[in-house]
C-alpha cells in the first residue's frame, strides 16, 4: 500500500478527557495514559462509502423528513465547506453525517423530553459524500439552543453535530459546529473542554453571505481538517544501508 503512517494526534489541540465542569466526563474519562504507537494497517485502512449509498434528499434536512411535502420550520441555512487533511490535501469521497435539534432546540430522540415541541416535518439527520475537491453541503434549519442537566442553568449553544470518516479508521472524528456570534458558546462547559482558544474558534462557523441565496437561505461555512499521513521518504531503507 502507498499509504504511510498517520501523523500522531496532537492531543493538546483536542478537548481534555476529564473536565469537572462537564460533569459526565468525570466518570467516563480514563485515568491511565493512552498507549501510543505508530499507526498500523488497522488504523490506516477504513471503510469507504460510494455515492450509491445516498438518496436525493439525504443532505436536505428541510425536506428529508417531510410527511406531506411541507418544509421544516425555522431559519433556512446552507452549511458548506471542505474536508482537508493536515497536509492541506482535499479529502474526496468521504462520508459526512450530521444531526441536530429542531428550531426550538428539541431533538427527535426517544430520550429527549424537553418541553419544546417536535416539528412533524423535521427529523434532524443528514449525510453526504465530499466531491473530488473535498467539498460538501447541507441544506437545513438553524437549530435552537436547549437546556441540559449539568450545572443548574446550563444551555447548549446552537450547534450541529458532525461525523467524518476520512479514508482511514484512525482519522475518525466527531465534532460540533457552532454559529458566529452566539453568546452561549463562551458559557458552554462542553465547548470549554477545548483549552486552546484558537482551536475552539475553529468550531465556530462564520456567516457566509457569498453562499447565501437571496430570498431563500443564509449560509455558514465550516471547513474540517482530518489527520494527515506522515511523509514516507526513506521509509523502506533498512538501517545502515
Amino acid at each position: 500500500m502507498a499509504d504511510g503512517p498517520l501523523m500522531p494526534r496532537r492531543r493538546d489541540m483536542h478537548p481534555v478527557p476529564f473536565d469537572p465542569d462537564y460533569k459526565t466526563s468525570i466518570s467516563r474519562s480514563p485515568r491511565w495514559p493512552l498507549l501510543s504507537m505508530e499507526s498500523t494497517p488497522s488504523e490506516e485502512t477504513g471503510p469507504r462509502f460510494g455515492a450509491s449509498l445516498l438518496g436525493p434528499l439525504d443532505n436536505n434536512l428541510i425536506m428529508n423528513y417531510s410527511a406531506d411535502g411541507s418544509p421544516a420550520i425555522g431559519e433556512r441555512i446552507l452549511m458548506h465547506g471542505r474536508v482537508l487533511d493536515e497536509m492541506g490535501r482535499p479529502v474526496p469521497e468521504t462520508l459526512i453525517e450530521i444531526w441536530q435539534a429542531n428550531a426550538g432546540g428539541r431533538y427527535r430522540h426517544v430520550k429527549d423530553g424537553y418541553l419544546a415541541p417536535l416539528d412533524p416535518n423535521f427529523g434532524g439527520c443528514g449525510r453526504t459524500i465530499t466531491d473530488a475537491e473535498g467539498r460538501y453541503q447541507f441544506l437545513t434549519i438553524r437549530p435552537g439552543a436547549y437546556p441540559w442537566p449539568n450545572r443548574a442553568n446550563d444551555w447548549r449553544p446552537m450547534h450541529i453535530h458532525i461525523s467524518v470518516f476520512g479514508h482511514a479508521f484512525g482519522q475518525r472524528l466527531i465534532t460540533q459546529m457552532y454559529f458566529e456570534g452566539d453568546p452561549l458558546i463562551a458559557r458552554c462547559p462542553i465547548a470549554a473542554t477545548i483549552k486552546d482558544r484558537g482551536q475552539l474558534e475553529r468550531l465556530v462557523a462564520p456567516l457566509d453571505m457569498s453562499h447565501a441565496r437571496p430570498l431563500d437561505f443564509l449560509a455558514y461555512k465550516f471547513d474540517i481538517v482530518l489527520r494527515g499521513r506522515r511523509q514516507t521518504m526513506f521509509e523502506n531503507k533498512p538501517e545502515g544501508m
Binding site: 466518570s27 488504523e43 471503510p47 426517544v110 449525510r127 479508521f169 472524528l173 473542554t193 494527515g228
Partner: protein, 199 residues
Amino acid sequence: MVQPLDTLIETPSQTAGPYVHIGCIPSFAGVEGVYPQDLGTSPIAEGAQGQIITITGSIYDGTGWALRDAMIEAWQADAAGRFPGQDGADPAVSGFCRFAADKDSGLFTLRTVKPGATPARGGAVQAPHISLWIVARGINIGLQTRIYFGDEDNSNDPLLSRIEQRPRAETLIAKPDGEGQYRFDIRLQGDGETVFLDL
C-alpha cells in the same frame, strides 16, 4: 525568524452527546424513513468465509455502571487477514460495523467473522484483532481500543507486547464463552481499566 510550517491542525473533537444515534443509527433514536436502513448494521454479508463469532459485553463507567447511550464502531480484516479494499479481500466482508449499547441493559453484541492475522511494518505480524472506536455523552474524544481473542496466540503481537503490565494487556483479550462466543467488557475508568490507544 524561521519559515512558516505549511501543515494544518486537526479539527478538535467534541463529545458525540446523548443523541448520537439520530445521526448515526437513526432507527435506534426512533427516526424512521430518512434512510432505507442504518449504516453498518453488519460487518459481514451472506457467504463470508471463516468462523462466525459473536462478541457480547458492556461498557462500564468509573462507578461500575454500564453505559446505555454509547455508540461503538468496529473495523477489521477478513478471515485471511485482508482489509476490505485490499487485493484478494473477501467481498462478503465490509469489515465495518456500528452498534449501540442496549437502552435498558447496556449490553452490546457484535456478530462477525473472526479476523486473520495482519501484517505490520517491518515484517511484524499482528495477532487477530478487531479495532473499536467508542463515542458517547461524557467522552470528549473517541476512545480507540482493540479486541484480541483468548484462544489465539497473542504472544508476538507488537501492540500487546508494548504493555508492560500483563494484567493491563488482559483487558484487551476477549474471553471464550462457548462455541463461537466471546465476552468483552470495556471499563472506562478505575479497577481493570481497559487499555485505550493513541495510534
